[in-house]
């Protein structure tokens, strides 16, 4: 091809923007005193441990649940699937916040029932919380792979006398290894960049130490730590790019009919997870609501959150379409897409710090909603790009060719064929960005306009002041709005189609 596709210049521009925060961090980090000391090593150790345990935990929980939801004919299948994915609607810091308050001596469980429970804190606490809120990534990725498998090989194995569990282990799982790996890497990435959970549970990971340094005038040290964190994120992104999805000719999915006792047993095994991840946090929030009422909360905070997140979702989708297009069109486009993925590895605290300094160079932007939305877009654009691209890749290219042969111009073919077919992916991508922007905390703290309080910043404020009870309404609202975003996202996802095909 001699001419660049139309999408390349836009993708290039977006990629350059994505690199801006890194440049700012480098300039801030130059006058740092220490490149690396024993304390960094400890922080690095904590961060890597949390990541590894989270990824492992998410696989241990997510894979069996994927098998369960993909193949087993449980009563109310659909209900179980929705309930098992529901932790995605709960920001992990609300989980951390409520579980921290529920457990331990003097915690809510202790006060209400007199039961002595161990405290929820440190590495173990943070790893449990992270696992509870990231296993759906593994569940969804693995389930999607499972549904794409051709089950005739399992049938063959079983005909040849292999027991069911063994054939699942030896014949099915190796073929969905990539799906599992993709989900596990997402979980690891999440654990790496989350700020609220380790901060609330008192584990010194990169994000928390960066926040402490930043708040203690240690700006260059914070920038240096941020660059180290980015290096780890870059490594995970590299690993992620190595994971290739396998294709086989999909057949009718495997269907397993459990006996009534088996079904009961399976549901019993699932219940503790749901109890800990969803029921208990919601119960604590309702308890606080009942006990303390609404406090100083006003609906304005919810509107601020929603408004900024909607803007971010709209802008992200507009930018993601050409980037996804470029990524499909060629190697260079693919490379630019990888650069944009860097944004996903930049935690909010780092993005916030960098953009404060960038904003100060452009006073018209400083402390405006625009700069905040810009930060959201840079951080969450990869989510939209990924969703839209995977959706567009699955399009049958011959449809566009047919349109072209019939005389449509490239733009007309895009408008009348590609766009309508990718609309689901676009909605899903936008919803994903909305979901993440709603709950984003550290960048919002640093970049929001004056007088601009969101659900997340309000939650953080009452947490820091120790007024836990006032977290009830914003916490519940955040869960409800996230739930709506999640529902919208799944309404645009492919697995929904698949599900209806199965029925």
């Amino acid at each position: 091809m001699t001419r660049w596709p139309y999408s390349y210049p836009i993708a290039l521009l977006v990629a350059l923007f994505a690199l801006l925060p890194v440049v700012v961090l480098f300039t801030l980090a130059v006058d740092t005193a220490q490149l690396f000391d024993s304390r960094n090593l400890q922080v690095l150790g904590n961060t890597l441990l949390l990541m590894a345990i989270t990824a492992a935990g998410a696989v241990v929980i997510g894979v069996p649940l994927a098998l369960l939801t993909a193949y087993v004919q449980l009563p109310w299948r659909r209900f179980w699937l929705v309930i098992l994915v529901a932790p995605l609607a709960m920001p992990s810091y609300i989980g951390a916040f409520t579980l921290y308050a529920a457990f331990g001596p003097g915690g809510e469980i202790n006060q209400l029932f007199g039961l002595a429970t161990p405290a929820f804190e440190g590495l173990s606490g943070a790893a449990i919380v992270m696992t509870l809120y990231t296993y759906p990534f593994v569940l969804l990725a693995t389930r999607a792979s499972l549904l794409n498998l051709d089950p005739s090989m399992v049938d063959a194995a079983r005909t040849l006398g292999m027991p069911l569990l063994q054939s699942l282990w030896k014949v099915v799982l190796p073929r969905v290894g990539n799906g599992i790996a993709a989900g596990a890497l997402l979980a690891a990435m999440y654990a790496l960049s989350d700020f609220g959970t380790p901060a609330i549970l008192g584990l010194d990971t990169f994000t928390r130490v960066i926040y402490v340094e930043y708040n203690a005038f240690g700006l260059s040290q914070a920038a240096m730590l941020s660059l180290q964190l980015l290096a780890v994120a870059g490594l995970i992104l590299f690993l992620e790019s190595r994971v290739k999805s396998t294709r086989e000719r999909p057949g009718r999915p495997l269907v397993l009919w459990p006996r009534r006792s088996q079904a009961t047993l399976m549901i019993a095994a699932v219940l503790p997870i749901i109890l800990l991840a969803i029921v208990l946090p919601l119960a604590v929030l309702f308890l606080w609501l009942w006990r303390e009422g609404s406090g100083t909360f006003t609906l304005q905070y919810a509107w601020n959150s929603t408004y900024a997140s909607l803007l971010a979702a709209a802008v992200a989708v507009l930018l993601a379409i050409p980037v996804a297009h470029a990524a499909i069109r060629g190697k260079l486009g693919r490379f630019m897409e990888r650069v944009i993925y860097l944004g996903f590895g930049v935690p909010g605290i780092v993005m916030g710090t960098a953009l404060v300094y960038l904003g100060l160079q452009l006073p018209a932007l400083y402390q405006t909603l625009g700069l905040l939305v810009f930060a959201y877009v840079l951080r969450f654009l990869p989510l939209a790009v990924g969703t839209i691209r995977s959706n567009a890749e699955n399009l049958d290219g011959s449809l566009v060719n047919a349109a072209r042969v019939l005389g449509a111009s490239p733009s007309e073919a895009f408008r009348r064929v590609t766009l309508p077919l990718t609309l689901r992916g676009i909605i899903a991508g936008g919803a994903l960005v909305f979901l993440e922007a709603m709950r984003e905390l550290p960048a919002t703290l640093l970049l929001g306009p004056t007088n601009f309080e969101t659900l997340a910043t309000y939650l953080w404020r009452v947490y820091e002041a120790g007024l836990f009870g006032q977290a009830a309404i914003p916490g519940l609202l955040l869960v409800v709005i996230s739930g709506l975003g999640l529902a919208l996202m799944f309404s645009g996802e492919r697995w929904n189609l698949k599900e209806s095909k199965e029925q």
Partner: protein, 344 residues
């Protein structure tokens, strides 16, 4: 309800009652001014408000706004040190957004002032404060004292050493919040009084039997629950906890003439010129606001002639060390020290 009564009294006193002329007469008066005697505020100000006081400062700000309908106050909330960072970075970039900075810790004020950003304040304002809290370019609003809250079911008052250094060698289980600005100011004071080496050894030794919390309210709650025996925290967290829960199992102990009983202050600094910021600060030093902060937030009033909060021994019975509060801004070495001791 004391809180509501305060809000009403401040709001309903009416603008008509304000007598701008009387302000000059008050310059010489030792006692606290009433909001009735202050000029009405007109115009717009942006206040950077250091976070951490759980809505009590907000009540004060709301009442002031209610009383002055022609006055708009934009509030930017954030951690005190982050806001101080932002103010300095903004000045360097030639962007000024804040007219006032209300910090919960005098160290952050020192940082802003040493960058040369503070506007001088008239004596008619600073003269209202108790003599040791008068500064030319910032105003303390309320005082807080470092204390050792202890679990009274596990320990008696005489089990607590009255020397902060002795705590390092004790076998008491200690709760602390090293990431908290007030704690860092306390370590800075220790550094200034005892030197870096001794302070680092102390941090190392204490960290062996210490448990970390996010904030000092968390420390006090942990002491109350019996998770730790004793903690390091500003005095008001304990008093607030006890006011809501009178049978709380926590009492206050004080050390003697060392960093352990440092008296620190929240304070405000004017960043832009003119009458309006100064007059705004006058409101914070009124009898009404100072009594409110003492009664509801349990902070120590610093204007002459206002009663201290209930439950706190008078400042005469404790012996705080002599430390120049603005020197507490020298945080960088403190943080390096804390990092190398592995506690931050």
């Amino acid at each position: 309800m004391q809180r509501r009564a305060f809000l009403q009294s401040l709001a309903l006193l009416g603008v008509a009652g304000a007598l701008p002329a009387s302000i000059r007469a008050l310059a010489a008066a030792p006692a606290a001014v009433s909001v009735d005697d202050l000029p009405a505020l007109e115009g717009e100000l942006t206040l950077y408000l250091g976070r951490g006081e759980g809505g009590l400062y907000e009540d004060v700000l709301n009442a002031i706004q209610k009383r002055n309908p022609k006055f708009t106050l934009n509030i930017r909330r954030g951690p005190t040190a982050a806001l101080a960072n932002a103010i300095v970075a903004e000045a360097r970039a030639g962007v000024r957004r804040a007219d006032l900075f209300w910090a919960v810790d005098s160290g952050a004020i020192g940082l802003v002032n040493s960058a040369g950003l503070a506007q001088p304040l008239p004596h008619s304002l600073t003269g209202q404060l108790q003599p040791e809290f008068r500064f030319p370019d910032w105003t303390p609003i309320s005082g807080r004292i470092r204390t050792l809250p202890y679990n009274r079911e596990r320990l008696a008052a005489e089990d607590i050493p009255d020397d902060i250094m002795a705590l390092a060698d004790s076998d008491l289980k200690i709760g602390w919040a090293p990431a908290y600005a007030s704690f860092q100011s306390f370590v800075t004071a220790m550094r200034l009084l005892k030197g870096d080496k001794v302070t680092k050894e102390w941090l190392r030794a204490v960290s062996k039997h210490a448990k970390k919390y996010a904030g000092e309210l968390g420390v006090v709650m942990a002491v109350e629950r019996g998770e730790v025996d004793v903690g390091f925290a500003n005095h008001y967290y304990t008093l607030r906890l006890k006011s809501g829960k009178p049978d709380a199992r926590v009492n206050l102990a004080f050390t003697n003439n060392d960093a352990g009983c440092l008296v620190n202050a929240s304070g405000i600094v004017a960043l832009s010129e003119g009458e309006l910021p100064v007059n705004f600060i006058r409101y914070l030093l009124t009898r009404e606001v100072q009594s409110y902060l003492a009664n509801e937030a349990f902070e120590i009033p610093l204007v002459s002639g206002i009663a201290p909060p209930n439950g706190l021994p008078s400042l005469g019975t404790v012996s705080p060390p002599t430390v120049d509060l603005t020197k507490l801004a020298d945080l960088r070495p403190t943080l390096n020290l804390m990092r190398s001791a592995g506690v931050l």
